[in-house]
Symmetry: C2
Subunit: 349 residues, 2 copies
């Protein structure tokens, strides 16, 4: 089966995904009866294009890397913006990986909404649209028989939502606790090693873990939005990121780390979810955790999520030192899931 | 859909499973269109029975708990042994949870082979038949269009094989490392706390973690057989448990633990698998691991398995303090997977 695919957002994650699938064309065709034709790519700074015949994805990646405008690719028509791409381009799957506005999930949520309304399956690595519009987008996807998948929204390609959906049948998630933000983890490790908060932040920025403006991570927003995604999808919670009790790591000093260490503890930015009657409560804050606990063992960019369930007790999933490849894998895993939900001889579930 | 189910082996795990499903009849019917009728139960010491009308599973559990023979249950015919049950009882799923002979996987492998030959789906919590006869049993299951599922063989109900099959599509497992045996973990913890090896073993037996004869755990056989199961199923390895480089924890002394501790380390019985060219190599031995590492964080009966993959890097699954309920959940999870592979409106994948 040849799927027509389109991209809105074509940054590092989408490019890594493009390389991942293009270098495995034979394998994916043979094992999953999956092939694809790239119909459109919309970017913020390199133009937006659509075609009738298909774009060479490898050429598109090369153009992005060299800083060229995509309009120069052969056989491509220029589009004004992503909205025109969505209107004019026929696609079976939209890969949405735009830069996120973390306070409202836009414009990603609008792109996704419009695609789902047109019956296009959507795969996103963006947590914002899920945190702010999960129920609405899910309803539209069901009504239009289009998939809405977002494994990459939390913990990159580590299975979180697929784990719950396909591996924990009949089990109910009652609560969770997790170390979900890499930047704060790297900063806290720096403070633990004797550097100041500012030095640790600079180091995290230098190695590419933290953005130039890292307030969103440091103040706990990133972990908070991820906690909301987990709560909405796995616990059917109705909660807004702004309602979450949230405390970032700005107040954490070297002496806090040292005094924790003296007691066999360390400090992590922990996101928690639990039920209080019918309500789901969330919190994000720096917590003392034992050095020899699962959360204490998260080093560097590693993440961990502990799910408390009724039938299966506590299980955890840990992702070690993820990079852009792991987020790209989330897109591939969702693409294969969509492929397997279509008819055909091959299936992953 | 009403599935006809049968049990060979009806000990603690099967009884916990029976209670789990019987107490959720309405829920499982509503959410998964799943109902069942128990056609036969074969035990080693409480008789073997089969029926035409169905056995009351709750009554059967009560009979086992009171030490009664199952022959006394209403409407049940006595069978000589499990083999007669397999011959005379029509069933859609066989739940195989007999006591394991760890050196050859028998008689479990024979029960499973005969059931699959007759086209009966099999769910087992036994690692032995998988370790010794995986390829043969898988071949028979494919030929007879019957499922062969064994999520409970490693790490109880924590998704290991389902995780790889449904959540890591197109990713290849290149190696693994895990703390897979609870008894040795509890003993090592006891030694760490200052008790002798013998005292720690007695304590593990007293709290019901270790068997009266715990040699199988202590000498690393249990971890070894589990490692073989992982290697055969996830790495397509062709290896026999007797070929594994295996060292148990008998030699571990308090001073070893203390000297490790002084360096921020602890000792765990670690099972490892890796590729060496086309060969898959396995080892089981006590290893020093950092206290603040994932494996160092496994306390009490907790287990952890780290999978090294090509596309998804390293991810780990951790099961905290599992008990018999978690193994029972493995049976339920496999049962729901079989249900969803049949036609019908409900599906978990």
């Amino acid at each position: 089966v040849e799927l027509r695919i389109a991209f809105i957002g074509f940054g590092k994650v989408a490019q890594a995904f493009a390389r991942m699938i293009e270098s495995r064309r034979d394998y994916l065709l043979r094992e999953f009866d999956l092939s694809w034709r790239t119909m459109a790519i919309a970017t913020a700074n390199h133009g937006s294009i659509f075609t009738r015949e298909g774009i060479d994805l490898t050429e598109a990646v090369a153009a992005m890397e060299s800083g060229a405008n995509l309009h120069k690719l052969g056989g491509a028509f220029a589009a004004r913006d992503p909205y025109e791409v969505l209107e004019r381009c026929p696609a079976d799957i939209l890969f949405e990986t735009t830069t996120l506005n973390p306070t409202d999930g836009e414009p990603a949520a609008t792109f996704i909404r419009q695609a789902l309304e047109r019956g296009i399956n959507v795969v996103t690595a963006n947590k914002g649209p899920v945190a702010f519009a999960y129920r609405e987008l899910k309803t539209i996807s069901v009504r239009n028989k289009a998939s809405f998948r977002f494994e990459g929204a939390v913990m990159d390609g580590a299975p979180v939502f697929n784990l719950a959906e396909y591996c924990l049948p009949a089990a109910t998630v009652k609560g969770f606790a997790g170390v979900l933000n890499s930047t704060t983890n790297v900063i806290l490790e720096g403070i633990e090693e004797g550097r100041s908060f500012e030095e640790s932040l600079s180091e995290a920025q230098r190695i590419g873990v933290a953005e130039a403006n890292a307030d969103y991570d440091i103040d706990g927003w990133d972990a908070c939005v991820k906690a909301v995604v987990i709560a909405k999808v796995l616990m059917e919670a109705d909660i807004d990121p702004r309602q979450v009790a949230r405390k970032g790591i700005r107040g954490v000093r070297g002496e806090d780390m040292r005094s924790a260490r003296n007691e066999g503890m360390t400090i992590r930015l922990v996101a928690r979810g639990w039920r209080d009657g019918l309500r789901t409560c969330l919190s994000v804050s720096p917590e003392r955790v034992p050095l020899d606990s699962l959360m204490g063992s998260t080093r560097g960019t590693s993440n961990a999520l502990i799910l408390e369930t009724d039938l299966m007790g506590e299980i955890a999933i840990v992702e070690k030192s993820p990079g852009v490849e792991q987020t790209a894998y989330a897109l591939l895993s969702d693409m294969l899931r969509i492929r397997s939900s279509m008819s055909g001889r091959h299936s992953i579930g």
